[in-house]
Symmetry: C2
Subunit: 136 residues, 2 copies
DNA sequence: CAATATTGTTATCGGTCATAGCTATCGGGA
DNA sequence: TCCCGATAGCTATGACCGATAACAATATTG
């Protein structure tokens, strides 16, 4: 079948992102995480007392959509909230959350290493800078 | 804010794909198309008498999900169906569909050119091969 | 102090995608 | 030739994601 689409970098970008997302989702699913959960855990870990709004800004997730995401993490006992002032609350990992974050990191690091390994050596170092130019 | 995520090529891939998808969606939206519509029009144009199932296989879209997509294109008068045998039907662009496909191609070509232009010259030629390795 | 911005939240809506199941038809091997 | 597995098209449905609007309470700024 004739298919002109794969010549388009934008199309290849879509397909590559989807293909890799499916694979990572499967691996994180084994420890009960979605990709966004892992992102949130990593960010909270790296920024104790961060607010929900700040997380949303960093990840380009609307405030409104953060609510169920954080609720899941809180209900699972992975994060807790402590009031900063009357309207903000700081987020932090619980001990349990730190364990899960460590597991998630192991999975993500292994996955990313495999991703890079799949890229032919001569293109490998160019991938991240090229992608950065498209969204940063 | 400390953010370890952008170091991950997989994360950059996600963000880049999303950012570019939003932009292309806006431009195609001006002529009433979604991205998948444009993909379908291009493939039907390049493969007259192709079946819905074959399109779905090529684009990794389930048969079931092809139905509303093709219905939209048919209702808009951009494609028509002619029976191949008792259970298959060949798809083809109408004259109107060919016009829309040409408009879509102009938009996509311009967009893809801008995408590539955004990538620093030294990384430019590596992007497509690197992405291909991740999904092909 | 008053006007404005921010935070967290609820509710809702559209789009995408996966799954299951159904009917009818096609095609190949016994 | 006949039968059975594979295929095509379709309906229905449910999960998930992201966008939007609105609101109350609080913080910040001029």
């Amino acid at each position: 079948m004739r298919d002109p689409l794969p010549q388009y970098p934008g199309y290849a970008l879509r397909r590559a992102a989807h293909a890799t997302a499916v694979q990572l989702a499967m691996r994180l699913g084994e420890i009960g995480l979605k990709q966004v959960d892992a992102s949130l855990l990593f960010l909270v870990e790296a920024n104790p007392a961060v607010t929900a709004s700040a997380l949303g800004r960093q990840l380009d997730i609307q405030r409104a959509n953060m609510v169920p995401l954080l609720k899941r993490l809180e209900d699972a006992g992975w994060i807790d909230r402590t009031p900063i002032d009357g309207k903000s609350q700081g987020l932090a990992l619980t001990a349990e959350g730190a364990k899960v974050a460590a597991q998630a990191r192991a999975i993500v690091d292994a996955f990313e290493a495999e991703l890079i390994a799949r890229v032919p050596a001569e293109h490998r170092d160019h991938l991240l800078p090229a992608l950065d130019a498209l969204w940063r």
